[in-house]
Symmetry: C2
Subunit: 454 residues, 2 copies
């Protein structure tokens, strides 16, 4: 039943589309999940995609396909659809959070048009409400669809109410319990609902220990929280505790994945969020700035070496170890900074444990420094005939490892304190900085030791 997108399948499908064989195309669409159809769209041109799309007669499925598309493809696709089709064909069938995401990406004029074409006024109202939240907050990823029952009900009344509300939902995982003022009181698990007698009161069988978040909490923090407590859904409340929405696991997983991808791209020296794009210039724009930092660093490095030109001309062997010194500073710096960034991202690094963390990092780097500078000392004692060079390389390497580790630990912590994304400090930035500083330390020590020992 699982679908695998192959070249053959795609060739067949494109032929079917080109022949406008709507019966066959419809049959294929029937058998596929929305996520599969979205995957196929990525491989079609816009006219082919539009032809297929208009064949989908199941509103739910049509809505899901749109929700599953990459942002890029969605934008191009929506541009060719008229507002009334957008509203009628899928916004009406979408969960409010997905609908709000789709509408938020439209040009302002089209937003208004689409909103006016939505037949379900409650849905239109929900969307307008959701559009007011920042997209990086709990409010920005919550949906207005959830099931809530009053704490004064008994189970029989609650079940009637749940049935009524469930008609509008795709799936039911939790029932929330509220009081007359809509203030969240707890949850009613489906297990309890199935196992309890119908004459029991909700107030006696609900679980009052419910974890909720405020609408302005960052979506990242909400995802970390849901992950910690293994929650499949997270209710969102306003300042006085009224239930206003629900974040479901699929959106929480999306946030987690996006955060992980962003941190990964930062450490790779790629600006976040554009790698899904197909356009070469967009891809280039994502990488060039980081390489430019590297280039500037290299030019700066060249100038530093330039200061020491005379020494290098006299002792050309000093140049031999420049790549080693530069690489080691960079490698150690990336290790330390990435550890800090990961610790901050998954909240295992709390303010009180930061001091402990720094001490531990320093111990690790001390061991690394001792081992690695001893190894290079042995190597040079055997293969080099200059004691000055031998001791320069070893002592510089020792100092640089300690320094790069301290720098790599400190910078992301400082950025985090300044409310700047600490992941900024993991990629080319930290390696470039450590390259230059390492180079300087190496050359200074070299000048000193060659002066003394030769």
């Amino acid at each position: 039943m699982r679908f695998e997108l192959t070249r053959e399948f795609l060739d067949d499908l494109i032929e079917i589309i080109n022949n406008e064989d709507s019966k066959k195309a419809f049959q294929i669409l029937e058998e596929l999940y929305a996520a599969d159809i979205a995957e196929i769209y990525n491989e079609l041109n816009i006219e082919q995609a539009k032809y297929l799309y208009l064949l989908i007669d199941d509103g739910e499925k049509a809505a899901d396909v749109i929700a599953e598309l990459d942002d890029d493809d969605r934008e191009r696709f929506l541009a060719v659809l008229p507002s009334d089709v957008i509203a009628g064909k899928f916004i009406d069938h979408m969960d409010s959070d997905d609908a709000a995401d789709v509408i938020a990406d439209l040009p302002e004029k089209k937003q208004e048009e689409v909103l006016q074409h939505i037949k379900d006024l409650e849905q239109a109202g929900d969307i307008v409400d959701l559009l007011t939240y920042d997209e990086d907050t709990a409010g920005g990823i919550m949906a207005k669809e959830y099931i809530a029952v009053n704490i004064k009900m008994n189970l029989e009344e609650a079940i009637t109410e749940i049935r009524k509300q469930a008609e509008e939902l795709d799936e039911v995982f939790y029932v929330y319990v509220v009081n007359d003022d809509n203030i969240l009181q707890g949850t009613l698990s489906l297990k309890r609902l199935l196992l309890s007698k119908t004459n029991r009161d909700i107030k006696d069988i609900h679980n009052s220990n419910v974890i909720s978040v405020k609408a302005d909490m960052s979506d990242e923090d909400a995802a970390v929280l849901a992950d910690k407590y293994d929650l499949v859904a997270l209710p969102v409340v306003d300042t006085i505790g009224r239930l206003i929405g629900l974040i479901t696991y699929d959106d929480l997983v999306d946030v987690m994945r996006e955060e992980a991808e962003k941190d990964y791209q930062m450490i790779s020296g790629i600006t976040e969020d554009v790698e899904h794009s197909d356009r070469v210039w967009v891809l280039t724009r994502a990488r060039l700035p980081w390489l430019f930092i590297g280039l500037l660093g290299g030019i700066f490095g060249a100038q530093i070496i330039g200061i020491f030109e005379e020494v290098l001309a006299k002792h050309a062997t000093m140049a031999f170890f420049i790549p080693l010194i530069a690489a080691m500073g960079g490698n150690v710096g990336v290790q330390s900074s990435s550890i800090v960034v990961q610790g901050l991202a998954n909240k295992t690094l709390k303010s009180e444990s930061i001091f402990k963390k720094i001490l531990k990092e320093l111990s690790v780097s001390l061991i690394n420094a001792i081992v690695l500078s001893s190894l290079i000392l042995l190597y040079n004692l055997v293969f080099s005939d200059s004691y000055a060079l031998t001791f320069t390389v070893s002592s510089a390497l020792f100092i640089i490892i300690i320094f790069a580790s301290a720098f790599g630990t400190f910078v992301p912590l400082a950025l985090n304190y300044l409310k700047i994304d600490p992941a900024m400090a993991t990629g080319p930035f930290i390696t470039t900085a450590n390259d230059i500083i390492g180079l300087f330390i190496y050359l200074i020590i070299g000048v000193a030791l060659f002066g003394i020992m030769n």
Copy 2:
């Protein structure tokens, strides 16, 4: 209701434990979630943790605490508990998948002892079954707890059956439908269950389009699948389609997070999986090998430069740009390799699109190479008085960017083809290789151009 672990809280708690004030300690435990208690354990010594643990009287909660502990802490903690306490206090109350994980980590002799102490023979049997699966497969993360009803039942019969089975479960999200041979036929959503009349037949109201996985599928692939189709649980079947287990969203999320963390650590030059440890030597062991690769690369680089000693002594300015050349090769290589690794991890990079990907990478690197080598050309035309140096740096940079990008794209693809983790090719390995190759290209070009132009 959300818990924040503070220094004050911890100091108070430790005082309570030291005073053996069991009543107060019990009260605190009552108010906390299992995940919070596990978080506190990480900050306590083993005796304090044991004291607290034995106070928890709710078996479910005691089990959850153990399931939430870090592997490291759990191992140390289980070592101080006798086998009958392990079996009686929490294995009996755990879901079979968590129980199997805990038991798998015990020394072999203790495994047998604990298994013999489990009172619920069905649970013991499930655990023994689960222990046969590789821990990196769908079978290795599935649980034996799920709800299944026969397709021949009507809804009323099914509800009776569901009630019976639900008693043993923490939560219910899906009901699976099987035939007489236990072969998976579909799902029954809780929404359908709530909304349908009780005299309807399961065969008419179930959803036969169910996505399942085989037990030997990798856990990573299972997580990608669940994510693609937004599934909160994934049923696991054997070779002939019999339902044998269920993977729930919390385990799928764990797999996703672990994969992301592993790739992040690889690109940082840290061996996976040890960063949660507190021990300095374990942390050192995770990083030193990668630094050692960097050191070897540096020594190799020194030897390459050594070959060109004479040229460098004559034209010391050539040494100026060694750090730039080395850094740029590394940066470009990491960008390209990380893109490929991410594409492979989230399955957006399929075999048929690999050729397209390589072409796109080459276009991007061509633009980067043109821009960056032009910039350094301008810089050197202004600030350098040697045309030989100017053209050496620019042409070497151009070639190195193209080469590093191709190399960074190719190596992870090749590793993946050889069934080796492509993430190996993202961190120090790729930067070190590109450093050395870049250096060699630079010096060769330098020798040629200085020979021709001077």
